[in-house]
Amino acid sequence: MYATVLALLKKDLLIEWRKKHTFFGVMLYVAATVFVINLMNGQAESSMWNVLFWITQLFVAINSVAKSFLQESEERFRYYYTITSPQAFIIAKLIYSVALQCIMSLLTLLLFHLLLGSPLENNLLFTALAALGGTSLSIVFTFLSAIAAKAQQNASLMAILGFPIVAPILLILSRLALKTMNTVVVNGWWGLFMVLILLNILIIGLSLILFPFLWKE
Amino acid sequence: MNNLKKRSFSLVFTILSIFLIVPACWAQNSTPEMATLFRSNGKIYVVVLVLATIFAGLFIFLIYLDKKIKNLENK
């Protein structure tokens, strides 16, 4: 099991490294978005900064994670089907997209600091939240891109399916992030934080249970 | 059949918009207490509006189902 997951993960990373299209494409996308925000708005004040950051995260997640399933062709799926178990496959995909999304989150954060100023008081906490948020978004979208790929649809279907599910998660994240900004007191911070963690576990569990059904034809 | 659906939709919308527009017209020349239709008699007409909406919705669904069954019969 571990060996298969590792092998699959290595395969994804190798494809990524050879083609470099996802990584640099999305990086360019992030840079362009942040730059445009800078041109339109200049330095944003803290609550706006927070909103813009999470919206950027959402679109980065849609663009980067979409590729994880949608880039694979039907024939390749058939090949994987013969050599791996569905659980190993989805775990590898989840780890890969979480890693990719976390790197993207950190890059976005860096660019935000450079171009939009930094209203943060607790940098470390916000970075951790960005990584956590990136994880939540990427696992939701990984599973939905599996659905979209099976339905032979494009990335826009994934966005349609995902938006209503992700909207409350983004709401929770932006609420959590307020704590790192200024003197705003957030009631029940730890409660919300635990809710987010539990949601992540729930999503991973559902992905593991449901993916095998999508897998077999 | 499409025509029937379209007609019934527009009928329901007309009824609903009458409900919504009439009180708005009333408001134009009302007394300061805003004695409009929906605020009169303890606002009982809001309940009427809600019930009308529910039944309108259920009827729209019935019409859609009716159309579907008709299509099946003609097949």
Partner: protein, 221 residues
């Protein structure tokens, strides 16, 4: 034709709700006035929606464990009628809110929750309509139903902690607290929920039977 007992019960309960809901005595409150009676008509729509989606969820699980296409058609019918009820709940809620809260939309968590449900299940319709192959459509829509429903339920309960509510019972709204207020109202409210829900179930069943005939005809030709 003999009606099943729960269909009769639905008729009886809905008429009971209509008659006693409009004629019965209700507590008098400021702002709400007579609109408090909407508790019997607007609120059950929301309960109905959740219950119908739950049925759809159960049938989706049964489809995945049995691969019987009938369960898929049932699940889809319940989802579709659930959407009808969510739309009705939303519109009636906005009508009620216009004359009590002063505006149709006020970012209330229950409104937001229903709006999210509507978006999730509209996406379900988009997904379902996009797939041609029957078995594939059944499988993918069952998987999406299970995924979306099990995430939606916790999110609906988390939302009220995020946004202040105008609805009674949360956010410290003193207006009225109907759920533990009045035994007379309770005697009508619970039957109302059951009656409207059975009506929704009945309609879903008709939808399912129509779809099943459609499916069989397609299969034979």
């Amino acid at each position: 034709m003999r009606l099943r007992w729960w269909k009769l019960l639905s008729i009886v309960l809905v008429f009971y709700t209509l008659y006693f809901g409009l004629m019965g005595e209700v507590p008098s409150k400021d702002i709400l006035n007579e609109t408090i009676r909407n508790l019997y008509y607007h609120v059950p729509m929301w309960f109905c929606m959740i219950l119908l989606f739950t049925y759809a969820f159960v049938y989706a699980i049964r489809y995945l464990s049995s691969n019987n296409i009938q369960y898929d058609l049932k699940s889809a019918a319940f989802n579709k009628v659930g959407i009808v009820f969510s739309v009705l709940g939303m519109i009636t809620g906005m009508e009620w809110a216009t004359y009590t809260w002063g505006e149709p939309w006020s970012n209330d968590p229950k409104q937001l929750g229903t709006a999210l449900c509507m978006l999730i299940y509209f996406a379900y319709l988009v997904l379902r309509n996009g797939i041609k192959d029957d078995e594939k459509r059944a499988k993918i829509s069952a998987v999406y139903t299970i995924f979306a429903f099990s995430l939606m339920i916790p999110l609906i309960f988390v939302l009220p902690r995020m946004v202040d509510s105008l609805h009674p019972g949360n956010g410290g709204n003193p207006g009225f607290n109907a759920y533990d207020l009045d035994n007379r109202m309770r005697m009508i409210f619970y039957p109302a929920v059951i009656g409207w829900f059975l009506l929704g179930k009945w309609i879903s069943e008709l939808k399912y039977r129509t779809d099943l005939i459609d499916y069989k005809k397609l299969y034979h030709e």
